[in-house]
Symmetry: C2
Subunit: 360 residues, 2 copies
DNA sequence: TTGAAAGCGCTAACAA
DNA sequence: TTGTTAGCGCTTTCAA
């Protein structure tokens, strides 16, 4: 529905290379070379072409160029939810690195819905993006394999997929989670809860529910630390399925209402942490005197609540940047084996961890 | 750099309409009609074409189609910062409404940099997006006027530009700010501070600095309420230029350290609010006993700090949706005069407002 | 309902 | 250094 308001040149159509060439008195090919900044053009010709283009208000049609070259200078970014601060910041990293390298970013939300993800990838492929970065929502990967097979590189962000041979950028979730629990154990805690949005080990054989590496690795790290410390029934205080802050709050409320409540709790991400804190507030438990709290992700609020919450900070912006850099390397022809990039996390000790209460 | 791994059809090229047509035993035109779902095709032909396409793994080239039709089914979204929760949620609204109508969204960050905004618009125009939604970063609008003049509709999000005749979607910032201050006045406050990232009335004639409607309207609403209440020197407690939470914190720290500190403070957005709260914490002032606090924007943290902060909530997702809907209406040919859509805000009364301290 | 043929605006051999 | 020519993959007249 281009309405083509009369431009400076008086006719109703957008000026094209032949138009510019005509005004500049050169052939379309020369004009194209000057405008596209390729091939060889004399200084004089270039100047006249540029002047003509300016006068006409010429605007190059990237679509036509992309059709020929097979390159759109665009990368697709498929993430679960731009409203999650983690993904927002990662998207920012992708965007910054992409811009730096001359690429644009097309963003798509999936809401953790595998069908939406498949559809998004299809659309991006049809748009001929040069590559795709995806935070996968399930282990079904045919659509990603297809993309890769037709020559559109794929990089995985934040989540691994064992069956897909693709570059992956994430943190060492297992080690980070184990480290958190070891710190809590070191402070004397034995009844350490974990609240997470992912499914637990028991659910992994079930057909339902996503089964993503990030959540699992964190749970596995938690359990490993407990087992290594000789804690009996390590899964006793594990609560899974906290897909929203509200669910996390409900699970945490049950936990603290039990006969032998936990003396420490580990939230698998900042949205879960929000629910956990609300439940603790509602129960009126002082932090860290009665319960210690650690959360994954250094969200805004963790440093303004009192006491400030100790967290595992991810290099979120850098994760996005790295993913974009890997993808661009692939686009530029890197044919090496798939790489797994594990970036370092940092434990930010604030005021929410102490020893268990004497009564604990 | 398409690597064209051998597909099912054995040769190295992506299948095209002629390929599908050949396998289906029809002409390219018929295949195109079946695949593109236009024109008239017999049921039998359509079935054979679809089967052939499926067998070949045909994937339509949207670029080629867009070049012909002049429609890319893509809209451009140009915002200041996707990491700002306000814009993240608004982007989500745009994205949801766009998807619903069959459009994709290309997202660009400007970091409040007018040059980045101009460049972003140029790129989007070259990509032949069907329309652009922008949260403008300055009052210079030639690039937006150009877009509109060549038939690419523009909708403004969150910020008005007086000189640009374009649909605008925002809240009534003036009324919302005035309402906040009236509530504080009603509670008995007279020394009401405002901390904002925007420039103040005195700076508006200066050449430096952005001059955006949203920030201004909030400041003007604040001042109007104070004047109407007969407060002398209404600008005495206004602090501008808080472009980051850190700057906001510093400004607030000065404010509370003064000889006659404010008994209430209004933060112009949630990032400013974060800094304000930190300064109040550092100064050891109890909220709301010694100082009442209200912030614009219902960010996560405002409900988990204690006391919970009263806020002006914007219908952020709806703002994005409305902007997308207006844009799509324009794309679909709506030629009516530019519309200004003001959505309603909601004051969420929580626990951070009380009367001024007896000592105040 | 179908097919043949003419482009969309641009790039890329190839020749001059 | 420049121009000529042939497409990229698709949509869209126009005839059949």
């Amino acid at each position: 529905m281009w309405i083509h308001v009369a431009g400076r040149q008086g006719n109703g159509a957008a000026p094209t290379i032949p138009d510019v060439a005509r005004l500049a008195g050169v052939s379309p090919a020369t004009a194209a070379r000057a405008l596209g900044d390729y091939g060889a053009v004399s200084k004089a010709a270039r100047a006249r072409v540029l002047a003509a283009a300016d006068e006409l208000g010429y605007r190059r049609n990237d679509l036509a160029a992309a059709m020929i070259t097979g390159r759109s200078n665009t990368i697709g970014l498929v993430i679960a939810d731009i409203e999650n601060p983690f993904f927002a910041r990662a998207a920012r990293g992708v965007s910054d690195a992409a811009r730096r390298a001359g690429y644009e970013v097309v963003l798509t939300n999936t809401d953790e819905d595998p069908a939406a993800e498949r559809s998004a990838v299809k659309v991006l492929l049809a748009k001929r993006v040069d590559g795709i970065i995806v935070a996968p929502t399930s282990h079904r990967t045919d659509h990603l394999a297809v993309a890769r097979d037709i020559g559109c590189p794929v990089v995985l962000l934040d989540r691994r997929i064992p069956d897909l041979d693709a570059d992956t950028v994430q943190v060492d979730n297992f080690a980070a989670a184990r480290d958190v629990v070891e710190r809590l154990l070191g402070a004397g805690h034995r009844r350490i809860a974990m609240v997470t949005g992912s499914s637990g080990p028991a659910d992994r054989t079930a057909t339902a529910g996503p089964d993503l590496s990030t959540g699992h690795d964190r749970v596995d790290g938690y359990l490993a630390a407990l087992r290594d410390a000789g804690v009996e029934e390590p899964e006793a205080y594990l609560r899974t399925g906290a897909h929203t802050p509200e669910l996390a709050q409900a699970l945490m409320a049950q936990l603290v209402a039990g006969p032998t409540p936990p003396t420490a709790v580990f939230a698998s991400d900042s949205r879960v942490g929000l629910g956990v804190i609300k439940a603790i507030r509602t129960a009126g438990l002082p932090v860290p005197e009665r319960i210690s709290v650690v959360s994954f992700d250094d969200a805004d609020w963790t440093s303004v609540v009192s006491p400030a919450i100790s967290v595992v900070a991810q290099p979120t912006h850098a994760l996005g940047e790295r993913a974009a850099e890997r993808l661009i390397a692939r686009i530029d022809g890197d044919e090496g084996p798939a790489e797994l990039h594990m970036l370092a996390t940092e434990f930010l000790a604030r005021d929410s961890v102490a020893g268990p209460a004497a009564s604990g």
